[in-house]
Symmetry: C4
């Protein structure tokens, strides 16, 4: 195994721990993966191992069909969902899944998370969608892969690079990004804006942000005319 | 006293402290016990001793009728409730009682905690039930034992191994498990899913998860076809 | 100054810091005092001094009329409220005042905090009352003393030893106890049960606990037939 | 650069970190600035730099037109809003901007934060206002400066020294004060009273504090007849 993959295992390991440090997961819930597209390999957290026993060497390496190619442990039971996302969203370099409480509340209410303010608009280009409910047949066989499929279906008319997050109905959020670190950051931001939306709901109906303000804030941080942050040139 | 029981005192002591570390109890509230079925002995926290003065030697050992057989302190005033659970739920190896805030909110609303999503379904096979209110007579004499009895009555048509938790009306949660550590873990998960349910309630009526999804998630983690986690063979 | 009073300054100092450690106060809000009834002296926090600059020597000693008898600093601006409580509630040995958020929410809603469950009943014998609004005249002159008077008026038909807490309308909670440590503990418990009540309110109307259960729990911990905790004999 | 400005960079640096320590900002959100009116210079956080890489030397110095006069980094993208506040509120010595969750909930609901109790009245002389929505034209060009202008417009009939805070509609709070430390303190207090107001909203409609009580509390801490705290003479 080349150094590149060793680096990726270390990064995926740290990204998983970051979810715990940020309070997004408890117990063994949640998982982060990254893909190395050049080699066609995915690195993912093992299933059901307590976070305090994880080390970078416990990360599992699979190919894009989910066959374990390195590691002694079983991969996360959500692996097939991650793989479906990598297959259909070609720019995704990392995927994160949590049961973070505020985002999960929207998933449990089967409600999309509307864009209520600039905090949201700075990171997500509009509502974070909720999937449709899965059918009994989709749940009975190939459940985790079908979870991925229903996510893809939800993005039929959406750009996953502009809204790198989804709420799986009755389940919880998945996020992605260029890297596994970006995927985790999107999970953190999603939980934050979901919590703000729950607080806003205490004050009345949820009114989306005007579209011109949404555009302004999203484009301030993303794309060719972004001017937030330090120059990358 | 054999080493086995000394180990159990240490474990019950640590399980009690874990409730504090996880933020589930304040002051001297809450108590954890474990049963050694081979010897017919129960180890439980003493009553009303501040957590920072507890040590494994302060744990109280009683028989299954509640007679203290070892220890200088009074056992938890909720002992009789624990004993009733051990008597009627033969697979329970540990019991935990807290006043954790979100679960207690459901108990105070005298409302069952419905299964709203997969976080809940991964751990509890359906709603966590609430007991009926106790009568004045049940409260006047043998109150703690009657609390146990009303819990048992609530499980007349439920499997306590599949739903290892209950909300005692106007009071708070009791949980159990194979071990005292599992009982504490169930208290943590219960509080987490109760908090998510309170957040979900801000977004409208509480709609239970579809039954096929409940089955899928519960069976993914429990029983002969479980595939979550690492192989135990 | 005798050693006894030095001890009391130390205890009042520590009780004030405990409010901060428990998260009940931010900035310079909140104050704790204690009375030495034998000497007719009160020890209280100085006004507006940041908590990280407080030391036991900054505590201010006054007589029961509020005249400073020791200390270089101005006493808490709420001193006159504390004095009124000591004057009229002869068993109060300590008083605490916070703007803890959940209890303050009830004060701002000008709503009493009903007894919704055993967590509350274990500590307070029924609802924690809210004062009436103060009149413009009561606010214009002698405001802090009048705050104390309206507290006393609220307890005309209540026993302050059984309900050692009050919500001052549009303001926040005051609590008391045998000692300043007990007053602080009552502030912590009050905030906890107020938070639980706010969570319970998300699930529907607030229904008080049945009176037989209230009696059982309060008497389990208080008075001649108490059996919670370790024997005091 | 004189020592005075070096001191101000250090203070602005520390004030920015204080926002993080108090939990008001996550990621790179939020920014604090201070003005040196004698020199006509402003010190502000750079844009989009992670807080753990900030040092006092990363603070950016600009003139009152926003031209960078010292520092290698781009200033906060909200600089023009800060400058507009300094230009129109001559007593403002520091400005803070956060996306703190409870205050942002009010901004997202496009609702002013009413004064519900003495915690609020001790710090803000009445409601914290919300701006009107900005027009598409105001958003399209000169957006950040126009954000400042709409803040100023909101204070046409208000004294910014008595209500040193505003909620920008669909965005979040800006606060100011004599110094950058006072601006940060006002952000902390604003978040605290906004959180209390959200909790109060769970108990029914939000009723403002009676005006005589508002006056009493605000004047207890502010202006010539203030008697809270230690004498400044």
């Amino acid at each position: 195994m080349g150094n590149g993959l060793q680096d990726l295992r270390e990064r995926v390991f740290r990204a998983n721990l970051d979810l715990v440090a940020k309070g997004l997961v408890i117990e063994t819930w949640g998982n982060v993966s990254a893909v190395d597209r050049a080699r066609g390999l995915v690195v993912i957290k093992p299933s059901g191992v307590p976070y305090d026993r994880l080390e970078s060497g416990s990360m599992v390496v699979t190919d894009l069909d989910g066959t374990v190619v390195e590691g002694d442990l079983q991969p996360s039971s959500d692996l097939a969902t991650h793989l479906e996302i990598y297959r259909c969203f070609p720019r995704a370099g990392g995927v994160a899944h949590t049961h973070s409480p505020a985002a999960t509340a929207f998933a449990q209410a089967r409600a999309e998370l509307p864009c209520l303010g600039t905090t949201h608009a700075d990171h997500f280009h509009g509502s974070v969608p909720v999937t449709r409910e899965m059918t009994p047949a989709e749940t009975a066989a190939d459940y985790e892969r079908n979870t991925g499929r229903v996510i893809i279906e939800t993005f039929r008319d959406l750009d996953p690079a502009e809204v790198p997050a989804v709420l799986v109905a009755s389940h919880g959020p998945f996020t992605w990004g260029d890297t596994c670190e970006a995927a985790v950051r999107n999970s953190i931001v999603l939980e934050t804006v979901a919590r703000m939306a729950l607080d806003t709901a205490r004050l009345g109906a949820l009114e989306p942000i005007p579209s011109h303000l949404l555009e302004r804030h999203f484009r301030r941080k993303h794309g060719p005319r972004a001017y937030y942050g330090q120059s990358r040139t």
